[in-house]
Symmetry: C2
Subunit: 415 residues, 2 copies
Amino acid sequence: MSVGIRHDDLRRRNRAMVISAVRRAGQPSRTEIAATTGLSHSTISAISSDLIQEGILTESKASETVSLKRGRPQVGLSLNPEAAAVLAVVLSLNSLSVAVIDYAGQVIAEEQRRLDTLTMSRDELIGECVAIVRRRLEDPDLDVQSVARIALAIQGITDSHARAMLWSPITPQTNIAFADILEREFGIPAIMENDCNMMAVALRWRDPDRYRDDFIAILLSHGIGMGLVLKGELFTGTHSSGGEFGHMIHRPGGALCRCGRRGCVEAYAGNYAIWRNARQLSENAEPVADVSDAEMRALATRARETDGPEREAYRKAGEALGFGLGSLFALIDPAPVAMVGASAAAFDLIEPALREAIAQTAGGQHSDSISFDTEPNELPLIREGCAMRALSFVDQEIFAPGAQGKSGTIRKHVA
Amino acid sequence: MSVGIRHDDLRRRNRAMVISAVRRAGQPSRTEIAATTGLSHSTISAISSDLIQEGILTESKASETVSLKRGRPQVGLSLNPEAAAVLAVVLSLNSLSVAVIDYAGQVIAEEQRRLDTLTMSRDELIGECVAIVRRRLEDPDLDVQSVARIALAIQGITDSHARAMLWSPITPQTNIAFADILEREFGIPAIMENDCNMMAVALRWRDPDRYRDDFIAILLSHGIGMGLVLKGELFTGTHSSGGEFGHMIHRPGGALCRCGRRGCVEAYAGNYAIWRNARQLSENAEPVADVSDAEMRALATRARETDGPEREAYRKAGEALGFGLGSLFALIDPAPVAMVGASAAAFDLIEPALREAIAQTAGGQHSDSISFDTEPNELPLIREGCAMRALSFVDQEIFAPGAQGKSGTIRKHVA
DNA sequence: CAGTGTTTTTTCGAGGCTCGAAAAAATAAG
DNA sequence: CTTATTTTTTCGAGCCTCGAAAAAACACTG
């Protein structure tokens, strides 16, 4: 049940608004902030002087902003990089990475490790994650006090409260409450997010013009994932991270999917599925655990050269993605799509069949207006999304604490 | 870009909060309102005395609330029925209905007409709608001044701004801006909504325990429609009303759908599809325009009696609905489902195959926990949803006017 | 039936917040 | 050096919400 607005919430919300305006704009003047927030100059002046006093914002040197206009020059406000730091941890198939990001969003340290996630035990997996975080926190260059948040992204399904991994293709383990584990271990608030959702968050920051209120990020990798932003908000399921586009049903009773079910989109468009079809194996053949990027590149090259089973495999992938997107578009209407991941480099092979399939679906009439971007490198995107999410948390819950839309439920997922 | 909170927004929002608390609770005392809104007694007292002064709320007679407790008895506050009135217009296949509803939500007049919507011209269709509204407004018993809003629901796709019908199965006409037309004609704000979305809104009001934050309402009728509430908000597409569950793809290239495409869920589960399969016609056979309820009942009876093509037709319908729901559940996770419409009476024939199909999809692991309610009569539900939506508008935009949206854009879609 | 206890509702002053107007500050142009 | 222009701060006014206390309205008790 929604709750009334108390008088003191007002300041807190407007503080958060100012911080978020600075984060978005980079180095806005007080006047610009007043314009974007709609608040009066007096209010902005009061709030920003508070924030500067508290070390959250800093005034840029006057010399930096070369003004060509007459009048008193604007003083740019920016986030104080030392106000806080966050950790972004990304756990994906056979790889674990961490980055330390300052409050202004700059990466100040990072580390990456190769693991054999598929065979590791539960404790080993947790241990590695804890260890890599600990190493970063013990870095003498880092003021541990200032680390305000850890965001961990994983391929797979997380719960809707951002506490736990429920299921993941990168490990046979299930239900690991990474967020709780890290919080207990380090006493730092942590969240556990789905990798594709973080991709979507990052795309929104990177290119707010293209990826504003409604868009889709699809991960074309060993599996198929999706991050979806609708009406400016990250879309999640009711209980889990949701948006399991790869497991929408393409053909009832069809090809065997890695999840054990049949006919999922992923069972036609995941790397293992393309590989399986390229080798002309049965649709019932057990999905292989991993296909190297090199092997996929070779497959794509061969598909471009000759009209053989490789090309057909990509065609089938495109068809599955197209009908899947068509079904999705029946629900949410068409929206810009970003294709992310290694196989996005082979999107030229996928696109024709994909568009042909979409044309046969609810997205059909807009088929031409649907545009696809490709971004082959998912890891930086995921990391960036984690960082932004963690920083947004610091902005809102730490530097503008109090009743942030506490509508019964804990938190809203704002991209 | 989100916008700051001005000082005067505070009162407006809290006014809206109080009104909405009264609408939800029926006859709450000031103390109860204070509890549910979290505002202080002083504030509630001030706001409610304003609202009573303005004729929006009324105090219930003390005698009505028989208090068994000691102390000063609570005074129930209720909506003043005369504060405003709204019109709910429902346009469906061959039928047009209107109801006048007072501010407290009671129907005070209604009218229903049979039309031949499929053959009517654009002007005739518009004319009938305008005429039926005009007749209600000219009713001498009604104070026209008080009519604050018209809500019109239609089977089919509406635009996301609730202004126009874009496409509808009940007429060959497209792009009729009913909301604008009615506004121009009568000078009363109007909205145009999708019928299934209104069903969802109504279910939420009827049974907030079962249908709270996440649920699905599916209309099983000549076509298949869906209304979806996620995280307490009505789900709509980015450009249109969206949620076109019936046109998700069940079998690529499969049965011919009324929309002209192939393999849609509706092409297996709509009345015309069940009828087509029961008659063992080809999947490519042109969908019939209408199947009478009596005919569908006969089909269902026969399906219950003998294991013939009728039973198989219902089985196929269940399968299509099940795989469709499975795909949907991959995106949003399982949620309670209400099956609405005449064919919901045959849900016993549909359910086994439906559950079997779901079990093969992402909803599979929760198959048992998914529960279905049935409600054969959709019209009252749609009308109720329209009424609630129109009344919510009056609550918020008229009786608590000002900057409602906390974001720059005008927010409209709140269930 | 008057007094007492209990619960609800209103009243009232205090404290905060935002706003508009005016002042102050900082620079370019003349 | 003066004037024009733009940004930022200051200050008083006007609201709003809150807590505490008072007032109101009833049940219970002897």
